[in-house]
């Protein structure tokens, strides 16, 4: 064979092939070198702030520019694909699946519409969409107060700082529609200067103060739970604290378990609404996730919310907290298996076992409560007196409180299976007490047959029985979503453009 140089002389194309091949090799080598340099430095330059913003910057994307890893993960809370045995990341219609809830919450907005909660990404979207906030416009108010915005957005601390805390609690829900537009995000939990965890909602700070504790002294590990406890707690609106304000208040600290909180509400003569069927002054439990978690074994071992719901994640040389807040069942390897050596299927079935067993009795309690409300209604119709019913209503109030407290925290049956089991069993006892007394009252009124109960076996039947006109509510909501909401968002955009 001839030397290459002679071959090229004869066939110049061979020279070109050699030339281009060399270019390709050097080019790829260059790319490889660049990739190595880039990945060497990614850990060093992981946090390179792009812009400055104040603590009251409500737009998550502005914070996200400085913290792209965390921001991208956080935006994954938009993913609704996850489903477990009983819960899901999507807006499953709870009333459809458990029509008994409609009767239990009759007279209260929850009987209109109640879905399983979606990720933080949907906080604003879903509060617009739910029938519970009504369809306000210029002339009609929302059935809810402005306090209902408190946990929905980083616009809230901004507004509180601009107008004052009590003033924020003193309006109608619709008044801040054009102000509160960014879903829960960065500024709700982080300090803009240091990115340390920060408590931004006054209710938790006040609850700590009432106990004589200083929340600023909490350790980082405690803060990994406390930032969640700003919202995932039982609360009520204190109407006596400041005239005209629905002042958001946590019983937390003064009373921290379900029984104590019920006594606390009894003592201050508080009720959420009067049940139209049984005339009971009812209590509605919000999501006492934090209180219930505190009674569980994971809390006792010092595990924080973030340890399981936001475990660490690595991307090459960068390690960060996974801000995709979600069910640990969707990420067992990084949550449960950090400490527990068992197989994924085993761990998941352990969770399901607890949930199934709790559910068995909470369903029973729910069914008994439905029956009791209807029987109480029957007793009133027979002509029962307030004197006769007083004690019974107190039993119903306490029984339903325990039921609601157990089911309103969606993670309760795993976070605190023993406490949840205890609450439900005491609820069953209370409701049966109510029924024993009711049977006596009904007998005294001359009726000794079994009380015939109406058919409330589906959401539609139950809602019709308590006299709801759902189609009117739904069409008003559609109108509101198509006319009022876009206007709110437009105004907000104009305001934010001036920041």
């Amino acid at each position: 064979m001839k030397p290459i140089s002679e071959q090229i002389k004869e066939k110049p194309w061979k020279g070109w092939v050699l030339f281009i091949t060399t270019i390709c090799i050097v080019f790829v080598l260059g790319l490889f070198a660049a990739s190595i340099v880039e990945r060497r430095t990614e850990a060093i330059f992981a946090y390179a702030p792009q812009n400055n913003f104040s603590q009251f910057e409500p737009r998550n994307e502005k914070w996200g520019e400085n913290f792209p890893h965390q921001y991208e993960a956080y935006m994954k809370t938009a993913d609704t694909s996850f489903m477990s045995k009983y819960n899901s990341a999507r807006a499953t219609d709870v009333l459809q699946n458990a029509p008994g809830h409609v009767i239990l919450w009759a007279g209260y907005a929850f009987s209109w519409d109640y879905n399983q909660p979606r990720g933080h990404y949907y906080a604003i979207h879903d509060i617009h969409k739910t029938l519970r906030t009504g369809a306000p416009n210029d002339s009609i108010d929302s059935p809810q107060s402005s306090t209902c915005w408190t946990c929905k957005s980083p616009d809230v601390p901004r507004l509180m700082q601009e107008m004052g805390i009590a003033e924020f609690y003193s309006s109608n829900w619709k008044d801040f529609g054009n102000e509160v537009v960014n879903h829960i995000g960065c500024a709700d939990c982080h300090d803009a200067q240091t990115m340390n965890l920060k408590i931004t909602r006054p209710a938790l700070i006040e609850a700590f103060e009432r106990q004589g504790r200083d929340i600023t002294k909490a350790s980082h590990q405690e803060m990994r739970t406390l930032v969640c406890a700003q919202c995932h707690v039982e609360y009520y609106f204190d109407k006596k604290k400041i005239e005209g304000a629905n002042y958001l208040t946590f019983p937390l600290g003064v009373a921290s378990n379900a029984d104590a909180i019920a006594e606390y509400y009894d003592a201050i003569d508080f009720y959420d609404w009067i049940h139209p069927l049984s005339k009971t002054p009812m209590l509605k439990a919000q999501h006492p996730d934090y209180e219930m978690y505190l009674t569980g074994v994971h809390a006792a071992r010092g595990v924080s919310c973030a340890d399981c719901h936001m475990p660490y994640r690595s991307e090459g040389g960068i390690k960060f907290t996974d801000h995709h807040i979600q069910s640990p069942l969707n990420n067992v390897a990084n949550s449960c298996q950090v400490c527990h050596r068992e197989e994924t299927e085993q761990l998941i079935s352990d969770v399901y076992e607890r949930q199934t067993k709790i559910k068995e009795n909470s369903n029973l309690l729910e069914q008994l409560l439905v029956q009791t409300h209807l029987e109480a209604e029957f007793a009133w119709k027979l002509g029962a007196t307030e004197q006769q019913m007083k004690e019974i209503l107190q039993f119903i109030r306490h029984a339903q409180w325990r039921w609601d407290y157990s089911v309103a925290g969606h993670g309760n049956s795993f976070h605190a299976p023993v406490e949840t089991g205890r609450l439900i069993s005491s609820g069953i006892n209370l409701v049966q007490e109510a029924r024993v007394h009711l049977a006596r009252v009904i007998a005294q009124l001359g009726y000794t047959e079994k009380v015939a109960l109406p058919d409330v076996s589906t959401k539609e039947k139950a809602q019709a029985y308590i006299g709801l006109d759902m189609s009117a509510k739904k069409s008003a909501k559609q109108e509101f979503l198509q006319t009022v909401v876009p206007e709110w968002l437009k105004q907000a955009q104009e305001r934010e453009a001036t920041y």
């Binding site: 030397p3 290459i4 050097v26 070198a33 340099v37 060497r40 850990a43 040389g317 990084n334």
Partner: protein
Amino acid sequence: MKKILAHILPPQSWRVPVIIISGICVGLFLFIAYIANAFSYLSDKPETCINCHIMVPQYATWMHSSHREHATCNDCHVPHDNIFRTYFFKAKDGLRHSSIFTIRGEPQVIQIKEEGHAVVHENCIRCHTELVTDAKLTAVHEDFFTQKTERTCWECHREIPHGTVKSLSSTPYARAPLLESPVPSWLKQTMENEKNSMNTSTKNKKQENHQTP
């Protein structure tokens, strides 16, 4: 040999550009080797194993264990029965790790593979032979040796040496050494000096400007 050379070598007049071009290629290779810390992989330094930061929790837990005093990563995770197997295993493992890292395919949860599992067990026995070959105990228990070697040591010694909690979450605040800057210190120093002298000269000029009006 000569034939092959004659086949590739360019004619006399092309020599210089060809030397320069091949120099560029080889130089680029050397740069890659340097920037990727390629030579460190021949050493036994544990810091090498966190060149890419992925194994920081493993490094940090080892760093706080008693094994730190006596055994490096390689002592346990690479076989030591003969030198060929040592380097073959090391090269195979290392190349797998580096290719996975390059294509960003690293898993969130790092678990040892079966082969590595066997090697670690070999190495436990290599150093702790006296614990599995106790003459007195062998006299009493016939199957003492087999029992001690057929089951893995960490069936019981679960925390050794990486701790009970094994994951990214185990060492959230670990401080592990970062790679040093690839720019040599003398070059940095020179650049720093240049910058300073330029700054002072511009400052001087400004001062002069101030003085004139």
